[in-house]
C-alpha cells in the first residue's frame, strides 16, 4: 500500500504505543517499505513510502534503528530524525563504538575471527573486572550483497539464493520465499507439496534444536550432552539426506512445490528416526534436568525481560522463553499447520535455562508433528507450474530460530524484480546486548549460544 508521510508517521506512533509490532523495514532505490503486525489480530500490513527520505521509525521504536542504518548503507535512504546515523552493514571507516564511562572499566574486543567454528562478527565488551557493563555488537562482516543479487535474478537462481541467506534455516527461507512468490503469482500448489514442506521444516527444526541443546551444554563444559545431542542431530541429517537428497535439504523447496517426491522407503526411515529420538532423548533431558552443576550455569544467566522481548517482537525460543506466545505457524498461520495439532511452549523465566527448555519441548512437538504429517500425507503431485504474471506479496514462516519475513515483487518477465528477506536475528541480536549486562564475561558464550543468532541471515 502506497502511503503518505502522515500515515507512515502515524504507524510509527502506534508502534511506539505498543499496538503494532515491527515485522520488517527495508528499502529499494527511491522507496522505503515498512511491514507491521497488529499485536492482537495478527493482521500484517505493508506500507510503501516513495522518496529518498522518510520519517524515522527508530526514533519512536528502537527495534527499527539498525534496519534504518542498513537502508542508508544499501540504498541511500535517509531516516529523518534517526537517533543513530552510524553505518551498519557498510564497513570502511573506523567505527565509533558507544562510550561506557566509569571507574576501572576496560574493553575486551572479540572478533571478527572467533575462537570457535562460528560465523564472523565483532563484540566489544566494556567490563568492570569480570562483570560486563556494556556489550556492543558490530556486524556486517558476512555481508554478501544478497538483495542486490536477488534483484533481476531468475526465479530458479533467486530461490537458491534465498536458501543460502542462512544455511541453518535453508528450508525455512526457501519456504518463505516460495510462499511469497506463489502468492504474488496467484499459484496454488498441490496439497502433498504443502505437507512435505512442513515435514522438511520440522526436520530442520529438530536438527537445529539438537545441535543447540548440546552446544549450550558444551559451553558449560558438559560435553556428554554435546556428544549425544550431536549424534541425534547427525541421525536427523542422515534421514533428511535419505528423504530429500541433501543433508540440510538445500534447494528442495522451490516456488511451485518441491523439487522431488519422497523415495519409497521414506515412511520406514521416518519411523526409525522417531523411535530413535523417543528412546534416546528422554535420558538426555533427564540428565540435563538433574545435573545441578550444569543448571548452576544456565539458571538465572542472561535474563531477557518480557517487556523487551515484547517490544522487539522477539521470535522463536528467545521470545517464547520470555513469555511471548507468538509462533508464525499458528498466527497468522499457514497450511498444513491449521490441520495439525501442536502446542507452542512458553515459559517466563527468560534465562539460558528457559531457552534450553523451550527447545527441549519444541523437539517433542516437532516429533509429534512429523508423525501427524506422515499419517495424513495426501497423495498426488508435488509441484505445479507457475503461471506467468507480475505481482507483489509477503510471507511469514516459522524457522527454528523464529519468524522469517519474505517480501517479493515479481516482474512480468518471470524474474524477481525485488526481494527482501528478514531474519529473526534482526530483533534478537540487540536483545543479546541487553541480557549480558551485569553477567560475567565467561557466561557470554552460554548466553550467545542460547540465542544462536544468525550472522549471515542478518548481514545479507
Amino acid at each position: 500500500m502506497i502511503v503518505e508521510r502522515r500515515q507512515w508517521q502515524h504507524v510509527g506512533e502506534r508502534m511506539h504505543a505498543g499496538e503494532l509490532a515491527l515485522v520488517g523495514l527495508w528499502g529499494e532505490p527511491g522507496c522505503a517499505h515498512l511491514a507491521v503486525m497488529d499485536r492482537h489480530s495478527y493482521g500484517l500490513m505493508v506500507l510503501s513510502l516513495p522518496g529518498e527520505r522518510f520519517p524515522s521509525i527508530g526514533r519512536l521504536h528502537p527495534p527499527a534503528i539498525r534496519l534504518e542504518r542498513t537502508m542508508r548503507d544499501l540504498y541511500g535512504l535517509e531516516a529523518e530524525g534517526a537517533p543513530d546515523v552510524r553505518p551498519w552493514l557498510k564497513h570502511g571507516e573506523p567505527y565509533a563504538f558507544l562510550p561506557a564511562e566509569g571507574e576501572s572499566l576496560h574493553q575486551i574486543p572479540v572478533g571478527p575471527v572467533h575462537a570457535g567454528i562460528i560465523e564472523p562478527g565483532h563484540f566489544r565488551f566494556s567490563a568492570n573486572g569480570e562483570t560486563v557493563v556494556r556489550l556492543e555488537e558490530r556486524l556486517g562482516y558476512t555481508h554478501k550483497g544478497t538483495e542486490a543479487l536477488l534483484a533481476g535474478a531468475s526465479l530458479e537462481r533467486a530461490a537458491r539464493l534465498a536458501g543460502r541467506v542462512s544455511g541453518d534455516s535453508t528450508v525455512a527461507y526457501a519456504l518463505a520465499f516460495a510462499q511469497a512468490v506463489e502468492k504474488a503469482l496467484g499459484c496454488e500448489i498441490p496439497a502433498r507439496a504443502i505437507w512435505l514442506r512442513a515435514l522438511a521444516a520440522e526436520l530442520e527444526r529438530l536438527a537445529n534444536h539438537f545441535g543447540d541443546i548440546g552446544a549450550v551444554c558444551n559451553d558449560a563444559s558438559f560435553t556428554i550432552m554435546h556428544a549425544h545431542c550431536g549424534w541425534l542431530r547427525e541421525q536427523v541429517l542422515r534421514t533428511a539426506a535419505q528423504l530429500f537428497g541433501h543433508r540440510l535439504m538445500m534447494d528442495c523447496v522451490v516456488p511451485g512445490g518441491l523439487r522431488a517426491d519422497l523415495p519409497r522407503q521414506a515412511s520406514e526411515a521416518i519411523a526409525a528416526l522417531i523411535t530413535l529420538i523417543r528412546t534416546r532423548f528422554p535420558d538426555l533431558v533427564e540428565l540435563y534436568d538433574e545435573t545441578e552443576s550444569l543448571k548452576d550455569r544456565t539458571v538465572d544467566t542472561g535474563v531477557l525481560t518480557a517487556a523487551l522481548a515484547e517490544q522487539y517482537a522477539a521470535g522463536g525460543y528467545v521470545g517464547r522463553a520470555s513469555g511471548r506466545t507468538f509462533d508464525a505457524r499458528r498466527t497468522p498461520g499457514y497450511p498444513p499447520y491449521d490441520r495439525l495439532e501442536f502446542d507452542v511452549p512458553t515459559v517466563h523465566a527468560g534465562d539460558v535455562n528457559a531457552r534450553v527448555w523451550i527447545r527441549i519441548r519444541e523437539v517433542g512437538q516437532s516429533v509429534a508433528l512429523v508423525e501427524q504429517i506422515m499419517a495424513g500425507l495426501p497423495s498426488g503431485a508435488v509441484a505445479s507450474a507457475l503461471p506467468a504474471g507480475a505481482g507483489e506479496a509477503t510471507a511469514l514462516v516459522e524457522g527454528f530460530r523464529g519468524d522469517i519475513f519474505a517480501w517479493v515483487r515479481m516482474g512480468a518477465d518471470a524474474r524477481v524484480e525485488r526481494a527482501h528477506l528478514r531474519d529473526p536475528s534482526w530483533f534478537q541480536w540487540p536483545l543479546l546486548e541487553a541480557v549480558i549486562e551485569g553477567n560475567i564475561v565467561a557466561d557470554f558464550p552460554l548466553c550467545n549460544k542460547s540465542f544462536n543468532c544468525s550472522y549471515s541471515g542478518h548481514d545479507l
Binding site: H91, P112, V113, A115, G116, I117, I118, E119, P120, G140, Y141, T142, H143, K144, G145, T146, A148, L149, R157, R160, L161, R164, V165, S166, G167, D168, T170, G211, I224, A227, H228, G230, W231, R233, E234, L237, A241, R247, L248, M250, D283, L284, L287, E290, T291, S454, Y455, S456
Partner: protein, 171 residues
C-alpha cells in the same frame, strides 16, 4: 549420568570407520605440498577454521566432523582457537569485502609451514555469490589455496576425505 555412561561402556562405539582419502584431492595436492614440511609435522595437523562470509552451511558440516560419528581427532586433526597454533587454515565463504582484511591478518598470524584449504563452492570462485560487489569471489582471490573441497556444503565424509588426502601427503 551414570546410566548413560554405563550404556556407553557396554554398547559398540558410535564412531564410524574412516573413509579412504580422496583420490582427486590427492592428485591436486601432489603438486602443491612440499615434502620437506611433512616430516616436521608428522601425523598431526592443527586447523584454524575461518568463516569468510559463508551462509553458515559449511560451518554446520565442519562442526559435524567433531561429533562422535566422524571423530576427527582420531586422525590427528585438531581444531585450534588461534591461527598462531595452526598449520592449516580451513576457509569457507565467497570472501566478503568486509572479511578480506581479517582473513589476510589471520593468514599472516599463522606460522610457516602452512596450508590453506578452501571449503565449499563459494570458497572456490564465489559460487552463487560470484559477481557480487560485496564479495571478492573465492579464497583464491585473497590467499594462495593448496586444496579445495567442493560441495554446497561438502558433507562431513567429503571433508574428511579431503583432509585425509592432505594428511597422506604429510607422511
Amino acid at each position: 549420568m551414570r546410566k548413560l555412561l554405563l550404556k556407553s561402556v557396554v554398547q559398540a562405539p558410535l564412531t564410524e570407520p574412516a573413509p579412504a582419502a580422496d583420490a582427486a584431492a590427492l592428485a591436486e595436492l601432489a603438486s602443491q605440498v612440499e615434502r620437506a614440511a611433512h616430516r616436521r609435522l608428522g601425523r598431526s595437523l592443527s586447523i584454524r577454521e575461518v568463516d569468510a562470509g559463508s551462509c553458515n552451511g559449511c560451518e554446520l558440516e565442519i562442526h559435524a566432523l567433531n561429533n562422535i560419528v566422524y571423530d576427527l581427532e582420531r586422525f590427528g586433526f585438531r581444531f585450534v582457537a588461534s591461527p598462531r597454533h595452526a598449520d592449516v587454515l580451513l576457509v569457507t565463504g565467497p570472501v566478503t569485502r568486509h572479511m578480506e582484511e581479517a582473513l589476510k591478518r589471520t593468514y599472516a598470524a599463522t606460522p610457516d609451514p602452512k596450508w590453506v584449504v578452501a571449503v565449499g563452492d563459494c570458497a572456490r570462485d564465489g559460487g552463487l555469490f560470484a559477481g557480487s560487489d560485496a564479495c571478492k569471489g573465492g579464497v583464491g582471490a585473497v590467499l594462495p589455496v593448496d586444496l579445495h573441497i567442493a560441495g554446497c556444503p561438502p558433507s562431513p565424509i567429503t571433508l574428511l576425505k579431503g583432509l585425509l588426502a592432505l594428511m597422506e601427503k604429510h607422511r
